[in-house]
């Protein structure tokens, strides 16, 4: 018999987060077209991720099947069912940036943060992701970090960037 989901549940949303989630999702009751905007809002308050518990609240409040919510959140790269850090570093790996040395930048980020792409630092501050074109090809290689484009990156600039980003962010 395969392992039951109840044995390996790792949901960690607090009661407060679930309450806020319910309030946001209730605005989209019986309005399935609101799912994507609502998931954006929910993700912002639920630790940059939409885990099982949070999704169940969204499903209940919007009156949508859980399968629909999970299908949508796994389809779009900006959503994640996995817990992520406070700051998400999205490093563009598409061809124009690739040509200008994304690989070296990625290695610099991995070394500075001590994690691989797709992982989150132990203190929960940073998640490092590689992503497809962010439309900043005029300043390749580039990364999108908390809504801001950081362009013309060089491996040497990375550690300084990481420490300035980390300032003021509580672990």
């Amino acid at each position: 018999m395969a392992e039951s989901v109840n044995d390996r549940c790792c949901c960690s949303a607090t009661a407060e987060v679930l309450e806020q989630t319910a309030a946001i999702a209730a605005k989209g009751r019986d309005r399935p077209e609101m799912l994507i905007p609502i998931l954006h809002q929910v993700q912002a308050i639920a630790g940059n991720s939409i885990d099982h518990q949070v999704a169940q609240v969204v499903a209940r409040e919007m009156r949508l099947p859980l399968a629909r919510i999970y299908g949508v959140e796994t389809f779009y790269s900006f959503f994640s069912a996995k817990k992520r850090g406070k700051i998400i570093i999205r490093l563009c790996k598409s061809a124009p940036c690739h040509l200008k040395g994304t690989q070296g930048i990625l290695e610099a980020f991995e070394k500075t943060l001590g994690i691989k792409a797709g992982e989150t630092t132990a203190d929960g501050k940073f998640t490092l992701e590689t992503c497809e074109c962010i439309g900043a090809c005029d300043v390749s290689p580039a990364a999108l970090i908390d809504g801001v484009v950081y362009g013309n990156l060089t491996p040497a600039k990375v550690s300084e960037l990481v420490s300035s980003l980390g300032e003021g962010v509580k672990a």
Binding site: V5, H52, P65, A67, R68, F75
Partner: protein
């Protein structure tokens, strides 16, 4: 009416007819994997492609509507090669341990691989072997045999409206499954088994189907006895015993069944099954004939009615009987016995 020509044969069809339907009318067989009657056409598997004169790309016959003057070719070298490649692509990520698969003999992928002479795929497996979900009491799900035709997802969402199954992730990582890696047993699945019935491969199979091969069974069409809906089904019989049930395309059920119709057939050969009426004689339930049993009941009802009046009696009928039988039962309670104490167990 629209005039179309298929493989040189002229045909008149009604507006809204798909190329596939027109082909069926002419007896031209087109291979399909994702298409199924009563499900919305998806055009996803691309097996049913045909050539339409004047259009450069191949068109899926399952979803493309006929238009006036349309000229269709259903088979040529290009179409053959295209379908062959689709089979090869699907086989690359399909567990081809067919010997051990209970869909052996019914698998559409296997059938088309034979028809299109694909013995081995030239492509590599890119997905590995994900684990089987055997948590459901009646069926198993083996993702390594799923070809992502979405039939199960559509039957679950569009027809059964249980909305348990969905598509997860995208691109090459796309899978059919349950949210958050749930197992069937932990989900809101009601075990209706319709996903199993529509699966064209061995991805979703009943647990019982391991014990027989399709060519070993005879099919007996009958009406499901569980409720008054009248779903049509085929009993699969091997060596005089019912080993499985398949939904049939009846007016009432159009290819669907519920958990009872699909899976609850083991009582037939069960040793505890009641085959005759029983009357408790001197504290022991004893088998009797129908005449004796009915006389016993009639005498009992009459006695209670005389001693305590008709309202001391209540009648409760079964939802497994027909509406007509329930009506007559109601009449008997009200007119013959004289009480309004009558009810039926149907509450779903």
């Amino acid at each position: 009416m629209l005039n179309v020509t298929i493989d040189g044969q002229p045909l008149q069809v009604e507006k809204g007819t798909t190329i596939l339907e027109a082909c069926e009318f002419l007896g031209i067989e087109i291979p399909t994997l994702c298409n199924l009657e009563y499900l919305s056409p998806e055009g996803a598997c691309r097996m049913c492609v045909v050539e339409v004169k004047g259009i450069q790309n191949l068109q899926v016959s399952c979803a493309t509507p006929c238009t006036e003057g349309m000229e269709v070719t259903t088979m040529n070298e290009r179409i053959y090669a295209f379908r062959r490649l689709i089979i090869e692509l699907l086989l690359a990520n399909h567990n081809t341990d067919c010997f051990n698969c209970s869909a052996n003999g019914e698998c559409k992928l296997y059938q088309y691989a034979m028809e299109y002479e694909v013995e081995k795929t030239r492509f590599v497996n890119t997905r590995g072997t994900p684990p089987v979900d055997d948590s459901n009491k009646f069926f198993n799900y083996d993702p390594a045999k799923c070809i992502l035709c979405h039939r199960c997802v559509r039957v679950c969402n569009e027809r059964q409206s249980n909305r348990t199954l969905g598509l997860i992730d995208r691109g090459v990582k796309t899978t059919m499954g349950l949210p958050f890696d749930q197992l069937f047993i932990d989900s809101n699945c009601v075990s209706c088994g319709n996903c199993v019935s529509v699966c064209p491969t061995g991805a979703l199979t009943t647990k019982a189907s391991k014990k027989f091969r399709p060519w070993e069974v005879t099919k007996t069409r009958t009406t499901c006895p569980y409720c008054g809906v009248g779903c049509q089904l085929d009993l699969l019989v091997k060596n005089g015993k019912v080993v499985g049930v398949e939904p049939a395309d009846g007016k009432a059920n159009q290819g669907l069944l519920c958990v009872k119709g699909k899976f609850a057939y083991n009582f037939i050969n069960h040793p505890d099954r009641l085959k005759t009426p029983l009357i408790r004689k001197e504290g022991v339930l004893t088998p009797v004939g129908w005449d004796e049993a009915l006389d016993f009941v009639t005498a009992g009802i009459k006695k209670i009615r005389e001693e305590s009046g008709p309202d001391a009696i209540a009648g409760f009928s079964s939802s497994r009987t027909t509406n007509e039988d329930n009506y007559v039962f109601m009449k008997m309670m009200r007119a013959a016995i004289g009480t309004n104490n009558v009810d039926n167990c149907a509450r779903v």
